[in-house]
């Protein structure tokens, strides 16, 4: 068991700070539905097996992008990185919905040189020159990851889709979720419906119960999936889409992780 965990940790370190391979990436808000003239929300971000339980690795917030209701970019305040979690605050100063996302993209390749398996990670522009001339079995992959959540001051407002990587397009507003009700979202990859993708849905608080109570749903042809929330709580949602490279073109690995709050 210990060995397995150690291996998983290593795998997570090898994977980019943003990709959720063995561990799950999460960005958790202290609250999501707010009233008043203005409000503050705190966020924790990390990677761990138990979602929202900071016990493995802090998330690097290099790609933190906060979009205010009017489309402008908002700034995080009090940004810190602790051992197991990164934290920051957001001052909500305008009514509507804020999209808070840590976004990353990269390029990686695996190849064989002299019978030895090697890996390379860097910018796509450097790829052509970075791989040795005698490399064989070169497999290149574009990676896109998005770890995000949403918070609303006052009335929820529409969210614009991003059009890059894997993302959640709301049908039901992500800050309008109530226990016992059904919610529908669409998963998009590069702006197009991502069909037949498994979405994992896990409610936080696993430390205090024995059953993880995970739900897996598959997206339909239009990329849509629905879930009827069985309990109130903060839920983690995760999905990824891998596409193999063909004809010398790189493959892709796009992942999306979200935190959505369901109120009683």
């Amino acid at each position: 068991m210990k060995k397995t965990l150690a291996f998983l940790s290593l795998a997570a370190v090898l994977a980019a700070p943003l990709s959720a391979q063995a561990h799950r990436a999460w960005l958790a808000p202290t609250s999501t539905v707010l009233s008043g003239n203005d409000a503050w929300v705190g966020f924790d971000a990390g990677m761990s097996n138990g979602v929202f339980i900071p016990d493995h690795a802090a998330m690097r917030l290099n790609g933190l992008t906060i979009t205010a209701p009017d489309g402008s970019t908002a700034q995080a305040e009090n940004v810190t990185q602790a051992k197991y979690r990164s934290s920051f605050d957001l001052h909500l100063s305008q009514p509507g919905t804020y999209r808070v996302a840590n976004v990353g993209s990269g390029f990686m390749a695996s190849y064989k040189q002299g019978g030895e398996q090697k890996r390379w990670r860097g910018a796509e522009a450097e790829f052509a020159t970075a791989i040795p001339a005698d490399a064989t079995e070169v497999q290149a992959t574009r990676t896109d990851s998005r770890t995000e959540t949403f918070v609303t001051l006052g009335e929820p407002t529409d969210l614009k889709t991003v059009g890059k990587g894997l993302e959640l397009a709301p049908v039901t507003h992500p800050n309008d979720l109530a226990v016992g009700e059904a919610a529908t979202f669409k998963l998009l990859k590069d702006g197009q419906p991502a069909a037949g993708v498994d979405v994992t849905i896990a409610r936080g608080g696993t430390r205090y119960r024995n059953n993880p109570e995970e739900i897996t749903v598959k997206t339909g042809a239009d990329g849509a999936f629905s879930v009827t929330w069985p309990e109130a709580g903060l839920y983690w949602l995760g999905a990824s889409v891998r596409t193999a490279g063909v004809n010398g073109q790189p493959g892709s690995n796009a992942s999306w992780n979200g935190a959505l709050e369901v109120l009683p």
Binding site: V33, S35, N37, A178
Partner: protein
């Protein structure tokens, strides 16, 4: 300017239907006396709900009207979760004749004239009363009533709310 005649005194409201005013719809809300070392008066919302659970009209919202060192009173309106989601968040507050200060334990009446409900078609509705208390709980009580003819309805809460009585006089 629309003004709802809010009757604020507790006296004489036990018999809500008999309230002497031009009320065509009256709602009596009982806030129970709760023994707590840190009692705070609850936030309360009273609204008319359509059969599909959407909101027809908010009749009253009682919340802290001022800013104190903990924040502005509107910061906690979201704790009236059901009302907030079903319509409160879409309102501009304070709303004339709707917003009011928090109330002490006892019976309180919300009275509305037919003129103020002229946009409400005759039919079956619920009066919904929601109470949320700092360091306390939250409770929602629904009382069915008919708009368009005289009738009464009653319900009761078990924790944050006592008796809720609805009377339509015409």
């Amino acid at each position: 300017m629309r003004k709802l005649p809010l009757v604020l005194t507790a006296a004489g409201l036990a018999a809500a239907p008999a309230v002497a005013s031009a009320a065509d719809l009256s709602v009596s809300v009982e806030l129970p006396r709760i023994s707590s070392a840190s009692y705070h008066r609850p936030y309360v919302a009273v609204w008319i709900e359509k059969p599909d659970q959407s909101t027809a009209q908010t009749l009253a919202v009682w919340y802290q009207q001022t800013r104190n060192n903990e924040g502005d009173g509107k910061d906690w309106l979201k704790d009236l979760r059901t009302w907030w989601r079903k319509g409160g968040r879409a309102m501009a507050l304070p709303a004339d004749g709707v917003s009011g200060p928090t109330k002490a334990p006892g019976r309180h009446a919300v009275t509305v004239s037919a003129a103020q409900l002229r946009a409400l078609p005759a039919g079956q509705y619920n009066i919904v009363v929601e109470a949320a208390r700092e360091l306390g709980g939250r409770e929602v009580v629904r009382v069915p009533f008919r708009w368009g003819a005289a009738n009464t309805g009653a319900g009761t809460g078990s924790t944050e709310l006592g008796a809720v009585r609805v009377a339509v006089t015409r």
